[in-house]
Symmetry: D2
Subunit: 137 residues, 4 copies
C-alpha cells in the first residue's frame, strides 16, 4: 500500500515562467497530471495500463487556489491524495504544492476524473485494483 | 460600453488535442486568458496598457467544470463576463465555452485575479477605468 | 487557387512570453502549425479532412532562425509557402514571421512533413488534391 | 569536469501526446531546454546563476530531425553535447533523444544560443566559467 499523500518532486522550467517572473497559472495543472500519473504508478496501476485496458479518465471538474508564486528553477513538491467517490464512479485527487526548500505552501487544488470504457456511452466504476488500493488503504 | 458577455471565437488546434482525441483539459485555461485579454481590450483597457502602468494581475483562484469535449478543428465561442468584487480588489471572469456550430455548452468556469502595483507589497484596487467600465455598465 | 504565400495573422499571448519578456522559442512551432492548418484549409483541403481519410502528417524535420523577438500582445503575420518534393512524398512549408505593425522580419524557418496512410508501414504520396493545388499553382 | 555527453532522463507526459498517439513535435524543444539546464547545472553554472548575473541566452537558431516517435509514458534519454563557437559568442547544444528501454534513436537536433548582457545592445562572450568548462574539457 502506497503511503499517503503521494509526493512528487519537480523542477520549475524556464518555459513555464511568464513575464511576471512566476509560473504561469495553467502549468500547475500539468504538474497535477505528472503527480497523478506517478501516484497511480506507485499504487501498482500505471495510467498507461488502465488506458491499454480501454479505459480513459477524462477530467470532470477542478479547482485551484494560488497562495504564493513558484519561480524559475524552484524545486517543488506536489502532494497528491487520491480518493474515490462512494459510488466508485469518480476519482478525486487533492493537491498541495510546496516549495521544497522551506515547505512554503504555494498552491492547493483538486482534479476530479471519471472512468470511460471503450464502447460504453456512460461512465463505469473505477478498476477493482484501484478500488482495493484506495478503499482498503 | 462593451456588450456582455464578451464573445471570443477560437479554432481548436492539433497541438491542444490528446490521445483521447479531445482537448487536453489545461488548455481551456489558455483560452480563458485569450478571451479575458480581448474582453479587456474591448473595454478600452488592453492588459498590455495596464501592465505598462506597473500593474500585474496574478491569478488568485479558479474552477472549471467539463460538460462535453471540444475536438480538433472545432470552432468554439468563449463567453466572458467580468465583474469586480465590492472592494474593487478582485476581478472575477466567469466563462462559458460553447461549440460554435450548435451552441452546445462544453465548459463553464471562472478565474479570479487581483491587482499588484509595482513597489507595493499588497494588492491594490482595480484601475479606475476598469471600475467605471464594470460597475456602471 | 490560393494566393502564395498564405498569410495568417496572430496575436501573441501572455502565456507564450517568458521572463525575458519575449516569446519562448518553441511557440513559433505552434504558430507554424496554426498557419499550416489555415493554409491547407484555404487550398480547399482542411487537415481534418485529410486526417478523416486515414492520412496523418508526422513532422520529418524542421529548422528555425530567430532574427528579432516577438513580444507580448504583438500582432504577427505568419507567411506560409508550401511545396511538395518531386516524389510528392514530402510537404515542406517555408515560413516567415513578421511583426504586423512594421513588417519587421522576426523569424524564418521550415517544417517538412510526410504522409502516412493508416494500415501502411511506409509513407505514401500526397493526396491528389494537394498535388494539383501545389504543383499546378 | 562533467562527462560528455550529458545525459538527462525524462518521462513522456500525457499532455505532450497528440491524437496520433505520439509526442507532438514541438515538445522535443522543451526537453532540449530541460536537458540544457541540467547540463549547465552539472558544469557548476546553473542557468539561474547566469541569469541573476544579468546575462540571458536567447535562441539564435535550431534544427531537429525526427527518426522515430516517442510515445506516452516512454522513458527517454536526452544526450546534450554543448560547445562554444571559436569567438565564444555562441553556445551550441547538440542533442540526441533515445528511448531509454532499447536505446532506439528517436530524434537528433541542435539549439544555438547567444549571450546578452543587461544594458548592452550586442551579444557578449560566454561567461569565463563556461569557457573554461567547455574549452578545456
Amino acid at each position: 500500500m502506497a503511503q499517503m499523500p503521494h509526493r512528487f518532486t519537480y523542477r520549475v522550467r524556464f518555459r513555464e515562467c511568464d513575464p511576471m517572473g512566476i509560473v504561469f497559472h495553467s502549468h500547475y495543472l500539468d504538474w497535477f497530471e505528472y503527480a497523478r500519473t506517478e501516484a497511480l504508478r506507485d499504487f501498482g496501476l500505471p495510467y498507461k495500463v488502465i488506458q491499454d485496458g480501454g479505459v480513459t479518465l477524462p477530467v470532470v471538474d477542478l479547482a485551484i487556489k494560488y497562495h504564493k508564486s513558484a519561480q524559475y528553477d524552484d524545486l517543488v513538491t506536489i502532494e497528491t491524495t487520491p480518493s474515490l467517490s462512494q459510488s466508485n464512479l469518480r476519482l478525486t485527487c487533492s493537491y498541495r504544492v510546496l516549495r521544497s526548500s522551506d515547505q512554503q505552501l504555494l498552491v492547493t487544488g483538486h482534479v476530479t476524473l471519471c472512468f470511460l470504457q471503450e464502447g460504453r456511452s456512460r461512465p463505469v466504476p473505477a478498476p477493482l485494483f484501484l478500488q482495493k488500493a484506495l478503499n482498503e488503504g
